[in-house]
C-alpha cells in the first residue's frame, strides 16, 4: 500500500487517488503538425526502474492533481507537489 502525503489533505492511503501516469511527457503545442511529436506524447514512455515522476489525482479528497516522485523498484516516495505549480506551461 502506498501512502501519499497530499499537500492539501495530509497523508492518505493511495486507494483515495487515481493514477495519471508519467508526468515527464510534454504535450506538443496544439498546432504542432509533426506526427512524431504526437506519437511520442501519446505512446512513448521512459518507464524507468528507479525514480519516476507521475501524476495522481486525489479523487476522494481535495480532487487536486499531484505530481509524485516515486521509486518504481520499492515505492519510496521522494516528493509530492501540486501539478499546477510543477508542470511546464503549455504554449498557447
Amino acid at each position: 500500500m502506498l501512502r501519499i502525503e497530499c499537500p492539501c489533505c495530509g497523508p492518505r492511503d493511495h486507494d483515495e487517488f487515481r493514477y495519471g501516469g508519467d508526468a515527464s511527457v510534454a504535450r506538443p503545442a496544439h498546432d504542432d503538425p509533426d506526427p512524431e511529436a504526437w506519437y511520442r506524447y501519446v505512446y512513448v514512455r521512459n518507464n524507468p526502474a528507479g525514480p519516476h515522476r507521475e501524476f495522481w489525482q486525489h479523487v476522494s479528497g481535495c480532487r487536486q492533481w499531484l505530481i509524485v516522485e516515486r521509486d518504481t523498484r520499492n515505492h519510496t516516495i521522494a516528493s509530492v507537489g501540486f501539478a499546477r505549480k510543477m508542470t511546464r506551461k503549455v504554449p498557447a
Binding site: Y19, G21, Y43, N47, T72, N74, H75
Partner: protein, 417 residues
C-alpha cells in the same frame, strides 16, 4: 532420456536414483548464432523452435535468475483463443492448436487441461457483444458457444443465481477448448527439449549491455562476460524497457504489477475456468485443490514484483459477488509479477530498427497462452529476418501508423488496459 511409462517403471525399480538432469548446466561459449535474452516461456520456446523448425542449434538462452522464476512461473495459466480482432484471433488460435500437441512435441507432460472457459454476461447488451465475439470466433474456425442463464446454471451452479445477486447472470460465452496448463512444466519441458537439440541454457547470467560493431549489435555484455552473437532476441517480459533503452530503443511500454492468488485446497468445485463479466475476476481450481484466481493490475508503474492490499480487497469483493460460497475460504498466498503493458494491450514481436536486434515483448496480461505460438513465430522471424505472417500485426510501428490492436477499446493508458 525419453520419458515414457517404461522409464517411470524402470526408475521406480532403482529407487528413483538414476534420473538424469533434465537439461545441462551450460557455461557460455565465446559466440552463438543466436542469443535469446530471458529464460521465461517465450525465450525457451523460441530457442526450441529455432532448433526444431529451422535447424539453428548454436543458440544460447541467457537467464538472469533461474528458469521459470519469472512470469512463466507466476501466472494463473489460463489458455484460450476468444479474441475479437483480426491478428489476435488467428495468432491465439494457432497457439491453442500448438498447446493441443505440446506434451507430445516436447515429450514432457505440460498437463494441458481443456476444461473450457466460461465468461459470464450480466446484461442483454453484454450477451449481444459476446454473440458478436462468438460469431467472429466461429468464422475463424474456433469453437464458441453462447449459453443462456439456465445453461450457465447447469454447468456452474455454485455461482450466485439468487434474487439478490448484485449483477444477475444473463448468460455466458463458452470456449470448450480453452483451459489451463502446468506453468513450471511448460518452462521445464521447453528447456529440456531445447537442451536436447544442443541449445545452451545459461542461468544466473544477466545481460547488462550490448556489443556493437558500427550500427549492428554483435553480442551482449553479461554478468558472465562478453558473449558474441549473430543475432540477439529479447524476451524479458516486464523488463523490455530496461534492456531496450540499453540498446537505444524508445518503447511504448510501461511495467506494471499483476497479482495472483491461491486459496487453501478444497474438494473439487470449479471444473472450468470461470471469468466474471461484471468485474475483473477469474478462477480455476488447481490439481491440488486450491482456487487460483486473479484480477486487475495494481495500476501504477512498478518493478517491485510484489502487490498491494487494495487489489487483494477488490479481487476478493469480485470473487464473493460471483461465488458467495467461497466467502469463508482462506487465502493461502498472493504474489506479483512485473509485466510489460503496451498502450493497446497487444504484444510486440518484430525485427527492430537496430540491426541484429529482435524484440518479443509487451505481453501484458495474456502472454502465457501465447508461449508456443510466440516462440514459433519469433524463431521464424529470427531465422529468416522477416516477421512470420501470424505476427504481422504485432509490429512496433503500429502505434506510429495508427494500426493498434486495442481489444478492450480503452485508449492509450497502459494501466487501464
Amino acid at each position: 532420456m525419453r520419458y515414457s511409462a517404461f522409464s517411470i517403471f524402470r526408475n521406480g525399480l532403482s529407487g528413483q536414483k538414476n534420473w538424469q538432469r533434465a537439461w545441462r548446466a551450460a557455461e557460455p561459449k565465446p559466440t552463438y548464432d543466436v542469443i535469446i535474452v530471458g529464460g521465461g516461456g517465450h525465450g525457451l520456446s523460441t530457442a526450441f523452435y529455432l532448433a526444431e523448425n529451422h535447424g539453428i542449434r548454436n543458440v544460447a538462452v541467457l537467464e538472469k535468475g533461474y528458469i521459470g522464476g519469472g512470469n512463466v512461473g507466476r501466472n494463473t495459466t489460463v489458455i484460450r483463443s476468444n479474441y475479437l480482432l483480426d491478428g489476435n484471433t488467428q495468432f491465439y488460435e494457432f497457439s491453442v492448436k500448438l498447446w493441443e500437441g505440446l506434451s507430445q512435441a516436447l515429450n514432457f507432460n505440460v498437463m494441458f487441461s481443456q476444461r473450457g472457459q466460461i465468461v459470464t454476461a450480466h446484461s442483454a447488451d453484454q450477451l449481444d457483444a459476446f454473440s458478436h465475439r462468438a460469431n467472429i470466433m466461429r468464422l475463424n474456425g474456433i469453437d464458441a458457444d453462447i449459453l443462456d442463464r439456465d445453461e450457465v446454471r447447469r454447468l456452474v451452479p455454485y455461482l450466485d443465481f439468487s434474487d439478490t445477486a448484485r449483477f444477475p447472470i444473463h448468460g455466458a460465452i463458452l470456449q470448450g477448448r480453452a483451459g489451463t496448463a502446468r506453468h513450471d512444466a511448460v518452462a521445464w519441458g521447453y528447456a529440456r527439449a531445447a537442451d536436447g537439440h544442443g541449445v545452451d541454457i545459461i542461468q544466473n547470467c544477466e545481460v547488462t549491455g550490448f556489443v556493437r560493431d558500427g550500427d549492428r549489435i554483435v553480442g551482449v555484455e553479461t554478468s558472465k562476460g562478453r558473449i558474441g552473437a549473430g543475432k540477439v532476441g529479447l524476451a524479458v517480459a516486464g523488463h523490455t524497457s530496461v534492456l531496450g533503452r540499453k540498446a537505444g530503443l524508445e518503447l511504448p511500454i510501461e511495467s506494471h504489477v499483476l497479482q495472483a492468488f491461491v486459496t487453501e485446497p478444497l474438494k473439487p468445485l470449479v471444473d472450468h475456468v470461470v471469468a466474471y463479466g461484471a468485474d475483473h475476476f477469474y478462477v480455476s481450481q488447481s490439481d491440488k485443490g486450491g482456487l487460483v484466481f486473479g484480477g486487475n493490475l495494481d495500476g501504477y508503474n512498478s518493478y517491485a514484483q510484489r502487490g498491494n492490499l487494495g487489489v487483494v480487497r477488490e479481487v476478493s469483493e469480485a470473487a464473493i459477488a460471483l461465488m458467495p460460497c467461497i466467502s469463508r475460504v482462506r487465502l493461502l498466498r498472493h504474489w506479483g509479477g512485473v509485466m510489460d503493458m503496451t498502450p493497446d494491450a497487444s504484444p510486440i514481436i518484430c525485427p527492430t530498427p537496430i540491426d541484429g536486434l529482435y524484440l518479443n515483448g509487451g505481453w501484458c496480461y495474456g502472454g502465457f497462452k501465447a508461449t508456443p505460438a510466440s516462440g514459433w513465430c519469433f524463431a521464424h522471424t529470427l531465422a529468416t529476418g522477416t516477421p512470420h505472417p501470424l505476427i504481422a500485426a504485432y509490429r512496433l510501428d503500429r502505434f506510429r501508423t495508427g494500426r493498434t490492436l486495442d481489444e478492450a477499446g480503452v485508449g492509450p493508458s497502459a494501466w487501464l488496459q
